[in-house]
Amino acid sequence: MNISHIVAIIKKDFDIEVRQRYAIAGIFLFAVTTAYFIYKAFNNLSGLEWNILVWIIVLFAGLNAIVKSFVQERKETYLYYYSLFGPLEVIVAKLIYNYLFTIFLTFVVIFVFTILFGNPVKDYTLFLKGLFLGTLGISSVFTFVSSVSGAGSSSGTMMSILSLPLVLPSVLLMERITAVAMRLITDTAIAKDLYILASIDLLIIGMVIFIFPSLWKA
């Protein structure tokens, strides 16, 4: 494992993203359109609805964005990468890149929601803790599933039915933590929830790193 290789892959992914501007712009437009749609339909949101809708939009926008992380380039290019990098470097780079992307996406969605509906968050440290840990779980599951389903033909549907049940524990825990951060519910064992979310993330990332090398050969 070589850090400079990982940085190189992340930089390559970022460059592709910037050059194919329609893809990234499409994702953000999706998020903004959905938020605006909700704004026109609801006019006003309670804290609970705000919390749930933000995460649902992040979930589906992230799903659309990450699904292409293993199919956006041609097969021959992947063969080239295969000769250059080890599987561990590729998957770690993809995990980091998708994680950063999901966090960025989340902040964009929260920004749009804040402008349209206001911001019900009371405890920002706890909210950010929940956000960083939860999006880590979501982006790692999506990365893994895209490496599995990217091989299949109908990757869009496949991706959602494979990954949505898998991210459910992380999303539920994250929603609970952010709801506590908005003072919607009280929970004295919030530190325990954070530890559990962190350990689910570690479990997922460990499994991804453990399984990916045998997938990469294919």
């Binding site: 893994f144 299949g152 033909s153 494979l162 049940p165 479990l203 045998s214 997938l215």
Partner: protein, 358 residues
Amino acid sequence: MKSNWWKILGILILIYTVIVGMSVPLKPGIERADSISMGSNGNNASSISSGENHVIKVIGYNTNYKDNTNKAWLRLDTIGAVAATKFETISETEANVHFTIPTIFPARDTFQLLSMVIYNKEDGPSILPDAFSIRTNQRSNSNLTEWTVDPITNITDKPGMQFPYRSVLNETIRNTFFHIPLWFSMFILLLISIIYSGKYLKNNNIKDDIIASSLVNVAVLFGILGIITGSIWARFTWGTFWTTDVKLNMSTVAMLIYVASLILRSSINDVDRRAKLSASYNIFAFAALIPLVFVIPRLTDSLHPGNGGNPALGGEDMENTLRMVFYPAIIGFTLLGLWMTSILIRYESLKDRWLSRK
């Protein structure tokens, strides 16, 4: 024949489970007990005060009140019990029991809970826990002699094997031998399947993939049966087929994960690629299953035993008579599942061979 002994064993165990689990009677119990008299200061059934005389109508379950000398007590835990002044038998399962509630209660809360105990020679003791909540007027820790005049003694259990009587569960307690063992054997099958998935990723032997996927198929079937038996059980104990209970919903999500893995398999045509992807997904899905089924339900309230502060299988919910059927049932369902798997494996390998010859 020699290699098939475990199939016969599995079927014999399941026959034993069905026959014993369905035919052994429940212990005699008290279905309900309500005060049908007014107290001295006009209190009705819902609020009984200390020092009053009350007639309590008892409805028993599986009991034989006629032709037996029945005794009844109201028991206050650790202190003692007061015996009934009179036991009027109406029918085998109905009786009016007269009590004089003692005037002095031990120094504790204003409201104290009394359990009801009824005993006769034929039925043995039957208990209704926390039957009445009594408003106490005098509380002290001395002069508690009223509680120890006629203690609960000379009690012998009903001979023979019976399953415990629980007031909400009633006869549905027998579902313990089907609902829970189905989930246990599902987990055993999934555990074996990830071992074979790991073996496939290591050796790339297509036989391992066929074994793993057949095990997942049977495990999904068992899981769906587990949900159905649980749903029927919920209808008769909690009142509806489906509740918002975490464990129910988490196990449904777990089933969705595995059904998705079966769809993933059928979506890929290339045999090696399909084997590789479904083996990877299978291992990942099992890792995701652990927080779903073992962690999240313990965090929130649940109606299931073992979650949200309820006692688990080790607690008083499990009695030795139940264990005598419950543990064999787990082995029986697992063996049946393995037999079903072996048939599926044979079918899949034949299909594989036939397709490759074509």
